[in-house]
C-alpha cells in the first residue's frame, strides 16, 4: 500500500494505463512538461514521450474532435479539460459526435475516449473554475458519466474508464485532489468494484444519503454528526452517474424509507431530480418522506467569497436529513 493524494492516485492510474496499452494517449492543455495545472499528469510525458502525452493547442473542441479521430484510428485517447467551465467549447463535439458515433454507425464504430474534467468549487477560484456540469452529460445518451471521490477509487476508476469501450466523462473532485489515502498500486484491478456500481460507505437504517464526487467526504462527516443525534444515516457514493446503479439505491431506500440526494450542482433539473423521480416510482410504498435534495442554487456560481454559502456543507446536508424526519 502507498499513501497517495487523489491527484497522485490518478497519476498512477494513468501511468498504469499507458504502460498496459500502447494505444492509450493523454492529450490536453499543459499536460506535458507542466504535468497539468493540478499535476495529475506529472512526469508522464517524460516517461512516455511527446507522442503519447500530448500538449495540445488551446482549444477544447479541437482536443475532443481530434481525440475522436484518433479513436477512429484505433487509439484510446484520454483528454484533459483543464477546468469544468472550459468543457463547453467541446460540448458540441462530445454531445453531437462522441456520444452518437456508435449509434450512427449501427455499432460499426466504437469510440473509447475518456474525458477527464476537474469539477466543483471550494478552492476560491475565479469564475468558470468551479462548475458542476454533470447533468448536462447524464442527459445525453451514449455517454457514461462517473465521478471519483477518493484516492482508492480515483486509481481504479480512471483505469476502468480508459479500458471501457464507451466514451466516459470522468469527473474529478477538484477540492479533494490533495486528500490522502492508502492505495494498492502494486496489485491489479481484479478485486476493484466495477465502475458502474455504487458503493455503500456508511451503513445505516434511518435515511439513505446519496452523493458523489466532492460531496462524499461532506456526507460521511454529516452521517457521523447525525449519529451523535441518534439518526442512523446510510451514505452511498454513487460513483456512476450514468448509468445510475439504481439497484443499490432502491435496496437502501426500501430499508431506510427516507432519501436525501446531495450534489454541488444546482438542484434545479439536476441529477437529484432524476434520482428523486426514480425513487418515487420504485420505492413509493416504502417512503416515509419525500425525497429531498440539497445542492447549489438556481443561480450562476457565485464569486468565491460567497461559495461557502452556495456549496452544501455539513450543516445544510444535516438540515435536509433532519427535515426528512419531519413528515
Amino acid at each position: 500500500m502507498t499513501r497517495l493524494t487523489l491527484s497522485r492516485a490518478l497519476n498512477e492510474g494513468l501511468r498504469k494505463a499507458l504502460e498496459n496499452d500502447p494505444k492509450v494517449l493523454i492529450m490536453g492543455e499543459d499536460v506535458g512538461k507542466l504535468g497539468g495545472v493540478f499535476r495529475v499528469t506529472d512526469g508522464l510525458q517524460k516517461d512516455f514521450g511527446e507522442a503519447r502525452v500530448v500538449d495540445t493547442p488551446l482549444a477544447e473542441s479541437g482536443i475532443v474532435g481530434t481525440a475522436i479521430g484518433l479513436a477512429l484510428r484505433g487509439y484510446r485517447p484520454v483528454c484533459e479539460i483543464q477546468f469544468d467551465g472550459f468543457v463547453f467549447p467541446a460540448f458540441d463535439q462530445i454531445t453531437t459526435q462522441l456520444a452518437k458515433m456508435r449509434y450512427r454507425s449501427l455499432g460499426n464504430v466504437t469510440l473509447p475516449v475518456t474525458i477527464r474534467i476537474p469539477c466543483g468549487g471550494g478552492i476560491g477560484a475565479v469564475e468558470h473554475h468551479s462548475e458542476s456540469p454533470e447533468a448536462l452529460f447524464t442527459h445525453t445518451g451514449g455517454l457514461r458519466v462517473v465521478a471519483c471521490s477518493d484516492p482508492v477509487d480515483a486509481y481504479a476508476m480512471i483505469q476502468q474508464a480508459i479500458s471501457c469501450d464507451d466514451p466516459v466523462i470522468f469527473f474529478e473532485p477538484k477540492r479533494r485532489y490533495w486528500e490522502r489515502a492508502e492505495v494498492d498500486i502494486a496489485g491489479g484491478l481484479d478485486a476493484a468494484l466495477p465502475m458502474s456500481k455504487a458503493k455503500t460507505l456508511v451503513a445505516g437504517t434511518d435515511v439513505t444519503l446519496l452523493c458523489y464526487g466532492p460531496m462524499v467526504k461532506t456526507c460521511v462527516a454529516a452521517a457521523a454528526s447525525a449519529a451523535d443525534e441518534g439518526h442512523s444515516v446510510e451514505v452511498i457514493d454513487l460513483r456512476s452517474l450514468a448509468p445510475l446503479d439504481t439497484e443499490t439505491i432502491f435496496e437502501s431506500v426500501r430499508r431506510t424509507g427516507r432519501c436525501v440526494v446531495a450534489h454541488e450542482a444546482p438542484v434545479i433539473s439536476g441529477l437529484g431530480a432524476e434520482i428523486a423521480a426514480r425513487v418515487s416510482e420504485e420505492c413509493f410504498y416504502h417512503l416515509e418522506a419525500p425525497v429531498l435534495r440539497v445542492g447549489g442554487f438556481a443561480t450562476p456560481y457565485p464569486p468565491s467569497r460567497l461559495e461557502e454559502h452556495y456549496l452544501p456543507d455539513l450543516d445544510r446536508v444535516l438540515d435536509a436529513v433532519d427535515r426528512t424526519f419531519g413528515y
Binding site: G65, T66, Y103
Partner: protein
C-alpha cells in the same frame, strides 16, 4: 493575381469586400469549352480510357442525384442534399484517393461515396430516415456523413495524427482528406483543424468545395478573401482549383495527397464550383439568388466539357455514350426499387448500439417499451 507552386498568392492578396474573384485565378486543365490546358505545376498524364472512366462516374453520380431528388418529391425520402454542379470536384478528388487513404465527408459527398465503392442505396437510408448512416467506415475508408458543419475536419485531423503515430507517413504512406463547404470555413472546428494539422504536420488534405452559397448566404458573408488564401495564415499551402474541371481536381488533389503521404503536411484545396440546385430539397433558392447566375454557371457545367473533349478528340464512340445512358437507366431503376422496398427498422432498433457495455437502465427502458408494444398486439389478437 497568380498562384505559384506552393499555392501562395503572389499579388493582389486581398479583394474589396464582397468582391468575387475572377474565374481565371485557379488551376484549370480543361476549359468549359472542352479544351485541354497544360499547367507545368500539375502535369497530368491521362489515357482516353481513364477520361472515359471519369466521365462515366460524373454521369452516374448525377443520375444518382437526379433519382434521389425525384424520390424525395415522391415522398420516399425525407430530404436530399443535391450535389448538382459539384460532380467534378467530388469525382476528381475522390478518384485521386488511394485505397488506403481515408475520407471524411459532409452530407453532400455522394460522388466521393461512389468513388469509395459505397452503394448509393446506403446513402438513401440516411435521407429516408431508416438509419443515421450505418455503413462501416473502415470497410470503404469513408467515414459516416457528418451533418454538424465542420465537425469532421477535426476527426480527419485526429485520424491523420493516428496515421503519423502508426508510422504510416513516408514512402507508401497514407493520407486523409476532409471535405467541407465554404460556409464551414467560418466554423471554429475548421479553424482548429487547420491549427492542429499545421502544428502536427498531419497528413491531411482539406478539400473545400466552395459552391458559393451556404444555404442562402453568399461567400462574402463568410470571407473577404479567397478561401484558399487562409491556408497561408495557418502555415501551409493553399491552392484554388476549377471545381468544375474533373481533370484539374484530380491532379491538384493527387499532388496534395502525395505531399501529405510523404510527410509534407496539410494542404488546403479550394474547389471553386457552384451549387446548381437547392441546398436541400426543402430549400428555395429563388428567394435569395438570381436565375441569371445559374445560367452563367450552366455554361461551365462539369460534365459537358468532358463530353466535348472526348467527342472532339475522337476518344469515345457514340456506342460508349449509348451504353453509359443504358447503365445510368439501370442504376436509376435499381435505386428507385431499392429505396421503395427499404423496410422501416424494427422499433426495438431504437435501443441498439447506444453502448458497447451493458447499461441496465437503458435495457429496462427497452423492455418496458417492448412490453407496452406487446400489449397492443395482444389487444388486436384478443
Amino acid at each position: 493575381m497568380t498562384v505559384n507552386d506552393a499555392g501562395r498568392a503572389t499579388s493582389a492578396d486581398s479583394l474589396p469586400y464582397g468582391g468575387q474573384p475572377e474565374s481565371a485565378e485557379f488551376i484549370q486543365l480543361l476549359t468549359p469549352e472542352g479544351e485541354r490546358v497544360e499547367n507545368p505545376d500539375y502535369p497530368l498524364e491521362i489515357s482516353a480510357e481513364e477520361i472515359r472512366s471519369l466521365y462515366r462516374d460524373l454521369v452516374l453520380v448525377r443520375r444518382i442525384d437526379f433519382e434521389a431528388i425525384a424520390l424525395q418529391r415522391q415522398g420516399e425520402l425525407g430530404i436530399w442534399a443535391s450535389l448538382l454542379g459539384q460532380e467534378a470536384a467530388q469525382i476528381g478528388s475522390g478518384r485521386a484517393l488511394g485505397p488506403r487513404d481515408f475520407a471524411f465527408p459532409t452530407y453532400r459527398e455522394h460522388g466521393v461515396a461512389w468513388c469509395r465503392g459505397l452503394d448509393p442505396v446506403r446513402l438513401l437510408e440516411l435521407f429516408r430516415g431508416v438509419s443515421h448512416g450505418g455503413w462501416d467506415p473502415n470497410a470503404h475508408r469513408f467515414h459516416l456523413y457528418t451533418i454538424v458543419i465542420g465537425s469532421q475536419t477535426l476527426h480527419a485531423t485526429g485520424y491523420a495524427m493516428g496515421v503519423q503515430r502508426d508510422g504510416a507517413v513516408g514512402e507508401d504512406g497514407e493520407a486523409v482528406i476532409a471535405y467541407f463547404g465554404d460556409g464551414a470555413t467560418s466554423q471554429g472546428d475548421v479553424n482548429e483543424a487547420f491549427i492542429w494539422a499545421s502544428v502536427t504536420n498531419a497528413p491531411v488534405v482539406f478539400f473545400c468545395q466552395n459552391n458559393q452559397w451556404a444555404i442562402s448566404e453568399p461567400l462574402e458573408r463568410q470571407s473577404r478573401q479567397p478561401l484558399y488564401m487562409r491556408a497561408h495564415g495557418f502555415g501551409f499551402p493553399g491552392v484554388r482549383v476549377d471545381g468544375n474541371d474533373v481533370l484539374a481536381c484530380l491532379a491538384v488533389t493527387r499532388k496534395a495527397l502525395q505531399a501529405a503521404r510523404e510527410g509534407q503536411g496539410p494542404t488546403l484545396i479550394e474547389a471553386f464550383t457552384y451549387r446548381m440546385g437547392a441546398h436541400t430539397t426543402t430549400d428555395d433558392p429563388t428567394r435569395y439568388r438570381l436565375a441569371a447566375e445559374l445560367e452563367t454557371w450552366k455554361l461551365k457545367d462539369p460534365i459537358e466539357r468532358v463530353k466535348a473533349y472526348l467527342v472532339r478528340n475522337d476518344m469515345a464512340e457514340e456506342s460508349f455514350f449509348t451504353a453509359l445512358d443504358a447503365e445510368a437507366d439501370e442504376l436509376g431503376a435499381r435505386i428507385r426499387k431499392a429505396c421503395r422496398e427499404m423496410p422501416d427498422p424494427d422499433p426495438m432498433a431504437i435501443f441498439e448500439n447506444v453502448y458497447v457495455e451493458p447499461n441496465a437502465l437503458l435495457e429496462a427502458e427497452r423492455d418496458q417499451y417492448a412490453t407496452y408494444l406487446d400489449a397492443f398486439e395482444e389487444e388486436v389478437i384478443g
